[in-house]
Each structure stands twice: as C-alpha cells, then as structure tokens.
Symmetry: C2
Subunit: 341 residues, 2 copies
Amino acid sequence: MTLKELSDLLGLSPTTVSRALNGYPEVSEATRIKVAAAADAHGYAPNTRARALATGRAMAIGHVIPISAKHEMVNPIFADFTAGAGEVYSRNGYDMLMSVVSDQNEKQAYRSFATKRNVDGLIIHAPSLNDERIPFLNDLGLPYVVHGRSSRATAPYAWVDVNNTRAFRRATELLLDLGHTRIALLNGLEHMDFAARRRAGYEAALTARGITPDPALMFSAEMTEAQGHDLTRPLLATSDRPTAILVSSMIMAIGVRRGIEELGLTMGRDVSLITYDDDLSYFRNGSDIPVYTATRSSVRQAGQHAAQLLIDIINGNDSPSELLLEAELTLGTSTGPNRKS
Amino acid sequence: MTLKELSDLLGLSPTTVSRALNGYPEVSEATRIKVAAAADAHGYAPNTRARALATGRAMAIGHVIPISAKHEMVNPIFADFTAGAGEVYSRNGYDMLMSVVSDQNEKQAYRSFATKRNVDGLIIHAPSLNDERIPFLNDLGLPYVVHGRSSRATAPYAWVDVNNTRAFRRATELLLDLGHTRIALLNGLEHMDFAARRRAGYEAALTARGITPDPALMFSAEMTEAQGHDLTRPLLATSDRPTAILVSSMIMAIGVRRGIEELGLTMGRDVSLITYDDDLSYFRNGSDIPVYTATRSSVRQAGQHAAQLLIDIINGNDSPSELLLEAELTLGTSTGPNRKS
DNA sequence: ATCGAAATCCAAAGCGCTTTGAGTGTCTCA
DNA sequence: TGAGACACTCAAAGCGCTTTGGATTTCGAT
C-alpha cells in the first residue's frame, strides 16, 4: 500500500493524505479522521526510505559496537545501555542502527554512517583518556553523544557519564572507616577514561587519610570473571595481603569472590569487597539483600539519558549537553571491619 | 557529495558513474578505475536512502529486542548473538536495525518493519513451544530466521538452533555415570522451547537408567544469578538433598555456586554441577582450566549462522534452511563422583 | 568503402514520499 | 452584490539513486 494507492482509494490527492497523516494544519479535521481511519484499516505506513529521502532525515541513530580483535569481546554493559537507549528511540520514532566492526575499523564505520547518510546521529562508547574519535566526529559534522567522558579532550562534546571519581572515593572511604588500610584496586584498563577516574578517586581517598597508594595493590585489566579470579589468587597469597578489595565491575567481582573462596577465606569477614555495579538486568546484586556492597548506577538509565540528549541535539533544542549521574553506595554483605589489625 | 556532483566532476553521466561503481559490464575498465579513484578521493558513497528507494532493497536486517515488562530484563545472550550476526551483516553490506519494545508490542514491531519497508528480513529470538510469531511472520511475507525452534509450530520456518535435548541428555548421563542419582534441574522458563527440550533430555537420560524424574528436583525460573541462588538454598537444605545439579545457564550457575558455598559445601565434592554455557565473551568459563563442567555452544557463532542463513534466503539461494548445532561437553572442576551413597 | 556487432556512454523515467506554490470554493463584511 | 479572507485541496517538483532503452563511436570483417 503506497500513499498514491491510499489517496486514490479516498478520492483525495497524495498531498492531502500526506498532510493529514503528518498533522499539518491545512487539512480539515473531518478529512484527517477519514484518512487516518483508512490508513489504519489498510495498514498503511509511509515507506521509510522514501520519506527519509524526501525529508532529508533518516530517523535513525547509529551505534558502533567495536569488537576488540584481541579478545573477541563485546562490552557486557552494551546490552543494557542499548535497551535503555532503544526505548527512547522507539518512543520518538527513531530506529537504532547497529554497526559491529573490529576496533581497527571503527572510524571507518563512523565515516560510512556520515557519507551514506543513513543516520541522523551517533552514540559512542567507552572513550579513552584522550579519545581521537571526538575531534574526528566534530569534523564529520554528525551530531553525537559520548557515553562517558574523555578527560584530555580539548574540543567540546556532549556526554552522559557517571561520577566515577566520587563513587570510588566514597567506596574507599567506607573501607577506611571500617579500619582497612591495605586496600587493593582491581580496575579496568586504565587507558579508558572511566578507569582512570576511578583510580583517581581511590588514590584521593587514601591520600586524604595519609596513606600512600601502594602500586603492588593496584591492578588494571579487562573486567572479566577470569581476570578477577586470576588477579585475586596471588594477591591474597602474600603475607601482607590486603584486607579489602575494590573492584571495577560485578563480573570481575564474581571472579574475585571465587578466588577468595578457593583460598578458604570468607568474603566480608576475611576480605572485604566493594564493587562497581552497572545494575545489569541479568545480574542484579542479590534478590532482597544485596550480596555485594556496591556503588551502583544503572547503565540502562544512562542509555535513556544519552538517547534523549542526542535527540534533543538533533532537534536543535539546545538544552545543556552534559549530564553527570551520581552512583549510590549500597551496603551488602561483602564488607566488614578489618579484623587483622 | 552526490552522484551527480561526482559525475559532473568527471565529465561523465550519472548513469556511467553508477554503473562503474556497481560493477556493471557496460563500462570500460579504464573509466571504472578513474571513477573509483575519484569516488575514493572525494569520499563519495551512495546515499543509502536513495539507493534503497531505487532498488527496492533496504539492505538492512531487523532485530526485535523484546523487554519483559515484568522484569525489565534484557536477554543476556543478546549481545553476543548480535555481535556474531553483525559481523556477517557488515561483511555483506547490510545494516542491522534494532527495535527495542516491550514484549506486548512485539508483533506490532514486526508489522511496522513490514509496512515501513525499512528492512529486508528479520531474526527472531527465544521462541516458545508454539510460537505465534511464526504463523504471523509467514503471513507478513518478510523473510526471517528463528534463533531456536518452536516444537509445536505447524508451519515451516527457517531456524538455527542448538541440540538442547542431546546436550542435556549427555550432561545427565555424565552425572549418572559418576554415581549421582538425585540430580536436580534448574531450568529456564519451560514455556520456552529450548527449556522444554533441555528438560526432555534430562528426563530421557534418567528414565533410560530406570530413574523416575522427581518433580521436587525440577525447577523452572528466569535464569538470573539471584534465582540460581534462591532456588539452591532450600534445595540443599533438605535431608535427601540432590548430590548433583544441572543448570541452564552460566549466570544462574554462579548463583547456584553462591548458594552451595553459603551452606559450607564445596562444589565438585559435596555437590556436582553441570551448566549450559553460551560462551559469552565476558563470562568465559575460567581461563585455563574450565571452572564448570559444561555443555557449551557459542551463541556468537549461532548469530553468524543465523545471519548468513537469512542473507541466503533474501538472495534466493535456497540452501537448506535449518541448522542444528551440537554443544560440546567439557569437563571442569565442578563435577565429581557421588560420595554420599 | 560499408556493414554489423561490440563497446561505450547517455537521457530520462521512476522508486514513494514531502513540500512549494497555486487553485477552488465558501464565508464574512462592507 | 462584490471583494477580500479563509479553508481546503491539488499538481508538480524534487530528494539521490538505479535502470531501461537508445544513441554514438569503434573496429574488424566483408
């Protein structure tokens, strides 16, 4: 069913039908209702491609999912972020276009979006400290929003981020308050901005209490279950082992816990643990009582915010284009007072 | 840069330029090279929307991601499946269109894809035993591939699935061989086809050894960490507790393990555990030695196969449209002989 | 020299929609 | 009664591409 067929059916011109459906004022309410009814009855919806061509707007947002060639990894938070963003897109009539590329080809994917003109905007993920995508995209001229920040970027850009520094500072302070002084940090890869900020928060809290951060207690790795486990085992086997561990992701924390228990130790008693929790839908932190003490911020909500911000930018509503979300610190059973001192 | 601009630049007609770029034989090799070079130099790529309108092909595949309204859950395997499918799409010049909708609106999302004509095909996930989407999509006339099967569907459809029955039958047999007779099953929701098949495999193995499946040992729930834990606790608190547990997902298994250890029991010694492992990239089963004994099948590869199959169907290459993948059974440290008998 | 096929290239139509600019009635007020 | 204002509606152009059906040139063969 095309517009022309529908208009023939109604004995109207395509113009009028189009205007009726798109809510233009030049058409009477009576015909509008008639047209809408007929469209509904015959299951008519405008052909996206033709409409996009005519209006110059693709009504689609692009997401580039880079796959690390080394580890064949998909960022686990991606599904929930996507879900959040997707809801907002649907609500606003936008489609979500996903491009899965190996991380070397990422820029090419952005360029391709721009030249093929099949999206009106982009969301980019996981920025590094000085992310080269930002100047690149500024040149490209396609609206975009960054999920996260890039501390050393000089050009302006729109972003939605969590206050990672504050979150890790508070988590560290909690552990200090519980009497822990040897606190390990199992962080994500620190060329990533979020990880650098988390480390800064951790170090700031220690320094403020007169403790010099010990490089032997700080680790930076991919945030997998296996890494969590593999880093924890040797760490806890030393004589002056830490009494508390700060972990950058739930998934990694699962591995840490596995390591703790393999050594016959008990989490929350022998070793305290605080983790960052992205509130992933399939991995909620316990059912009633949280298992892990955690700083939590919903990545799904971040997705909603980022999507809304991008749509605002595309529509030219220049509301503030930066949004800093706060994580909340929730007590679980994984922390307790230091018993070793 | 449009085709017209490029052709003006080259002193050729748009026709010739278009043909040169699309590899039609009516253009000399010399001009083809010249055109390609110019296109490259000026960063020209055909406008997707215009091309789609002209060719009648959207060069895009739709995925509908239903969000369970009740639990606000995103299927965790979705990210990896998507990654696999996305690779194949990219390689073949297809875009991936994602539509996130609450599960009540799912059909509407398919219909919208069909009427708006912005995709050439669909992939659908998580079919139930008698999935109503199959007749619905057959009517709709948009090519599609099902990830999974729908046992009670009468109409034919293309699918890619894992041999769930066989996988669970083999896993159960392994436990039986180890002397376990009271084997619990923590399954996914059994209106889902995959879960029903897994249960069938489990029951078949038991029955073949003369053991009547005990309803008190069979559970069907959402496959979250919390559910795994919450089901395990009371299960292992009974006097005639099972000595082995078969679990339908790694994530759930993590929760089961937590339950086991909270009770002071040791996995692999006091309780054996076998889990189904989708080989999720962020949740590999241990680094060197697998932690869990598991039946594994890569959901990412399933994504690749499904995407390829769909593209084949769209292109009219009618290769066989059904693909059954086998899961492999890998020994980890979570299983051991029954010590209780 | 001439013809026909092969090799190139092009003009123009068309994909299905939006939107501009104009046209036709109908109403209101002088 | 006539003129202007208003409410509707429409024809046609245009978005950027592909593709049909010709037109032109080249060249070996007659």
